[in-house]
């Protein structure tokens, strides 16, 4: 399955998060010959471990005008170009009795200055618009927040990059930066699935590896002082709210509740962590307690709603001072031209920013790359819809699974086989994923294992956390290669348990026990799996 690679690229983009994917797309659309490399799967890092919030920018309006302005511009852009990844939920900033109501007027004023439509509404109206909101609220402001699916968004960028001629490799890790005569001329790659190593050359290498960009830079002998700030979140079993709910105060812990797909997510915390721990983030019981207690202030019903998982991501912030909380640091975009900064030509780092400003980050770094390569073509990513978000034409009658799939793939839903009993059979009942959709993902969306499949289709993301669907999906994916299927299942179930473990009580624990009974007791997956192979699953 090893692809033939070219001898030489214009640009190698390191990192298959949203920034890397967006950069690969922009570069490819400007006509560059692009290779995108990712050591695990797309959106494995911070891209897949955040709120899924399409900020209006209101959250930053008071503390960080620049970020607020970027957010609202990108918010409006993504609603158009990534229609199928965005759900236009709108958002509320609520003031509770313990908050200072005077902050509201400052907030509204700063939002207005940043170009964000912030509308003060009657708390009674807020309760009608969003029945889950804390009924004790004393103030409410409506803003154009929305929710966005980062997995879909990343994949759509990768697909479009490929449509424009880019090549993309997952499970390929950069293990060295090749420097010749003071210039970065390529990277040394290791295939993490089979261990093979190879060199790939390019005129420019763009480091878009998020917090791990620090380590990539180190390989090039360049020091970037980054600030790994861990943010933990909780996923609830179903939506309690249909609008984003924020606290109208200076940004603090656990003050945003976002409805994402069929779930809702509360977060985040913010704690400085050592870079060494970033590959294996664990959510602590204290964090769970804090998230739940603060979350209940936004929507009291969270307290009695089943929690599906806890997860944590690491913000790739550039350390600029000694603030221990990491909140006063700008989320602003940082483009480092290492030729100017460190005298190392052929190497650029793009970092900082936010998931939702990825396109702007990509535009900035691609502008710089084009300048260096002497390309004059202008950026078109803000006006060209992503694959799946083209104007909608079809209005046929849909089944549950087709509706769910259209939500995930937009107009690309048309490429999914349906209409026969096998294609329409459900693999994942919680999320309505059909056999047809799994097959589509496996052939078109770079799926090597069940975890990849989960990120492309939501298989295993529902209430049962893989209890029923994992086995079926493995069957559809792996065909006759049963050992691969067993290893895959073991890796996947471990990954699912990791997120359930911090919130394993009540029905969630009962669910986990039933799952364990099925996979260990009945199927014996733990005994049949090859341990060494299972360990290569990033969890």
């Amino acid at each position: 399955m090893e692809k033939e690679l070219s001898n030489h690229y214009d640009v190698i983009v390191i990192g298959g998060g949203i920034t890397g994917a967006g950069t690969a797309r922009d570069c490819a659309m400007r006509g560059l010959k692009v290779l995108l490399v990712e050591r695990h799967d797309y959106s494995t890092g911070a891209t897949g471990r955040n709120h899924g919030l399409l900020h209006s920018g209101a959250r930053y309006a008071v503390t960080d005008h620049e970020s607020a302005v970027e957010c609202i511009a990108e918010n409006m852009t993504l609603r158009k170009i990534a229609r199928h990844c965005v759900e236009e939920t709108e958002g509320l900033f609520i003031t509770l009795p313990e908050d200072d109501i005077n902050f509201q007027s400052t907030f509204v004023q700063k939002c207005t200055e940043a170009g964000i439509r912030a509308e003060v509404i009657d708390p009674q109206l807020a309760k009608i618009m969003e029945p889950a909101v804390n009924p004790d609220l004393i103030g409410a402001v409506k803003v154009p927040d929305a929710s966005v699916d980062p997995f879909r968004l990343t994949m759509a960028n990768v697909l479009d990059a490929q449509l424009h001629g880019a090549e993309a490799l997952v499970y390929h890790e950069v293990i060295d930066i090749i420097i010749e005569q003071g210039r970065v001329v390529g990277v040394k790659l290791r295939n993490n699935l089979n261990g093979e190593e190879r060199n790939v050359h390019a005129t420019l290498t763009i480091n878009a590896a998020g917090i791990w960009g620090m380590l990539v830079a180190q390989m090039a002998g360049v020091k970037i002082n980054m600030f790994p700030a861990k943010g933990s979140l909780l996923i609830f079993g179903h939506r309690v709210n249909n609008m984003v709910i924020n606290r109208c105060r200076k940004p603090a812990n656990a003050d945003i509740l976002v409805p994402d797909d069929a779930v809702c997510v509360i977060g985040t915390t913010s704690d400085r962590v050592p870079i060494e721990t970033c590959d294996d983030m664990r959510v602590t019981p204290e964090e769970v307690e804090l998230l739940l207690a603060e979350g209940m202030k936004l929507a009291p019903s969270l307290g009695s709603t089943r929690i599906l998982r806890a997860y944590a991501g690491v913000r790739p912030l550039i350390a600029s001072d000694d603030d221990p909380t990491g909140r006063s640091i700008s989320r602003g975009i940082v483009t480092l031209d290492h030729e100017k900064r460190d005298g190392l030509a052929g190497f650029i780092t793009i970092t900082g920013g936010k998931m939702m400003t990825y396109r702007l980050m990509a535009e900035e770094v691609t502008n710089l790359a084009c300048e260096k390569l002497g390309i004059a073509k202008q950026c078109e990513t803000a006006t060209t819809p992503l694959p799946g978000s083209e104007p909608k034409v079809e209005t046929k009658k849909y089944s549950f699974a087709q509706k769910a799939a259209e939500g995930r793939h937009g107009t690309l839903n048309a490429s999914i086989d349906s209409g026969d009993v096998t294609s329409d059979a459900l693999v994942c009942e919680c999320e309505g994923v059909s056999v047809g959709e799994v097959r589509y993902a496996v052939t078109k969306l770079h799926v090597h294992n069940l975890i990849n499949l989960r990120r492309r289709t939501r298989v295993g993301m529902g209430t049962c956390q893989g209890e029923l669907c994992a086995c079926r999906a493995a069957g559809v994916m792996c065909g006759d290669d049963t050992q691969k299927a067993i290893n895959d299942l073991a890796g996947f179930m471990n990954e699912r348990w990791k997120g359930m473990q911090p919130v394993a009580w009540g029905d969630n624990l009962a669910e986990a026990q039933l799952t364990a009974r099925i996979y260990q007791g009945v199927l014996g997956v733990d005994r049949l799996a090859n341990e060494r192979r299972v360990e290569c699953y990033e969890i």
């Binding site: 307290g303 009695s304 709603t305 009580w505 009540g506 029905d507």
Partner: protein
């Protein structure tokens, strides 16, 4: 504190308590015969998550649900799967009831109109051309025959023939006769009065009785069902205040008034719920407490096969009826394996459901053919129509069998 709230978490209809084990789908009579129905798990708790996101995820295929509640009986974690599905239909369905649906659902209205014309209506409704019209124009399946309308309503009979005699008893109950007894089969009501009087209980009608509303719920008319339910509750409250138990001879009416009123229609019935009981259950409980005794005719012999109606299963009341029947010495009792007969009230009358309805019931019909009983006993009138049509075997309510086998004089003596 927060963790405590979490661990005691219960959601609406317990939908979050679903552990996805899928046992409900195994027990679903509809899933067993068609892949077009998503099954209780998918239609219920799974679908509910997506409907909470966007009502566009409501699937009209949910109307294939029989509301038999066998999923709820099967569920090991007490998820009200059937309620979730019915509530979703009430909340999200954009399908407006057709003229046929309204006619099938309005048992009171249609019964009141038909009764005076019973001698004409009954034969006409059986005529092939009439059936063809009903099938083609109305969508009522041509295989179905409406139960005969009685030319004299049960209420009229009772007021004239029975009511004056009830004050002689020292103990009293109220009787919710239901539409079937009133318009189609007064004999069951007469049998009930005969049995209750024999054990020393006077029978009284409710001040005002409306159809329990089960057909209205099933046909998308929850508002009317709620109005009727409120009328029934008001009457029952008065009866209960007088110390009466409210007895019925229909498992479905009983189930609707005890459970669906609260779960689906939002009618507060908590103060009367425990007083609503099926006659067989009431009798058996009294017998077991030693308060009444039954004596049966020695010359009575019958081979009876008992069919567990779905709502009897849901209430867990099957043993009350079967133990009572087994007390009759002359009965050769056969217990049929519990499964849905497929009619589900008005469901099986609709032509789009006919084939599915018969496929669901096939296993039961085969069992009955094999058992070859003199009659089938069941507590539900719509099961009766289905089984009689599909097997040719007569079907009787357990109360009618008791009445038939009862030695009235001896029983009166025992209960003096």
């Amino acid at each position: 504190m927060t963790i405590e709230t979490q661990t005691q978490n219960m959601s609406v209809n317990n939908f979050e308590q679903c552990l996805k084990c899928s046992i409900c789908t195994v027990y679903c009579p509809v899933s067993a015969v068609t892949p077009l129905y998503p099954g209780p798990k998918q239609a219920g708790p799974d679908g509910e998550r997506y409907r909470l996101k966007n009502k566009a995820f409501f699937d009209e295929a949910l109307k294939m649900c029989l509301n038999c509640k066998r999923c709820e009986v099967a569920c090991p974690n007490d998820v009200h799967i059937g309620d979730i599905i019915q509530a979703a239909r009430i909340k999200y369905s954009t399908h407006r009831p057709s003229l046929r649906d309204m006619m099938l659902a309005n048992t009171d209205l249609v019964g009141t109109m038909a009764s005076p014309f019973a001698p004409i209506a009954n034969p006409v409704l059986k005529l092939k051309p009439m059936k063809a019209v009903l099938h083609g124009v109305m969508g009522i399946d041509k295989h179905r025959t409406f139960p005969d309308y009685s030319s004299r309503k049960f209420e009229s009979w009772f007021k004239k023939e029975a009511a004056p005699k009830q004050s002689q008893y020292s103990k009293h109950v109220s009787y919710f006769h239901g539409c079937y007894v009133n318009y189609n089969y007064p004999q069951l009501g007469k049998d009930f009065v005969k049995v209750m009087n024999a054990v020393g209980y006077g029978v009284h009608l409710l001040e005002k009785e409306k159809c329990c509303g089960v057909a209205l719920i099933a046909n998308g008319m929850p508002k009317q069902a709620k109005r009727q339910g409120e009328v029934n509750m008001t009457s029952m409250r008065k009866a209960v205040a007088q110390g009466h138990a409210v007895l019925t001879t229909s498992s479905t009416c009983t189930f609707t008034m005890r459970d669906e009123y609260d779960h689906l229609l939002g009618i507060d019935n908590h103060d009367v719920r425990d007083s609503i009981s099926l006659a067989t259950r009431f009798l058996l409980q009294l017998i077991e407490k030693g308060e009444i005794k039954l004596a049966f005719r020695e010359d009575y012999h019958k081979r009876v096969a008992y069919h567990s109606a779905c709502h009897m299963e849901r209430m867990g009341w099957v043993p009350y009826s079967t133990r009572l029947l087994r007390m009759i010495p002359g009965i050769d009792f056969v217990m049929l394996e519990s499964q849905c007969c497929g009619i589900s009230g008005t469901y099986g009358f609709k032509k789009e459901n006919y084939e599915r309805s018969q496929a669901i019931g096939k296993g039961l019909f085969d069992q009955i053919d094999e058992a070859n009983p003199d009659c089938v006993a069941t507590d539900c009138e719509t099961c009766k129509w289905q089984i009689e049509m599909s097997t040719g075997t007569p079907v009787m309510n357990p109360i009618s069998i008791i009445a038939e086998a009862l030695d009235v004089e001896a029983t009166r003596e025992l209960n003096k």
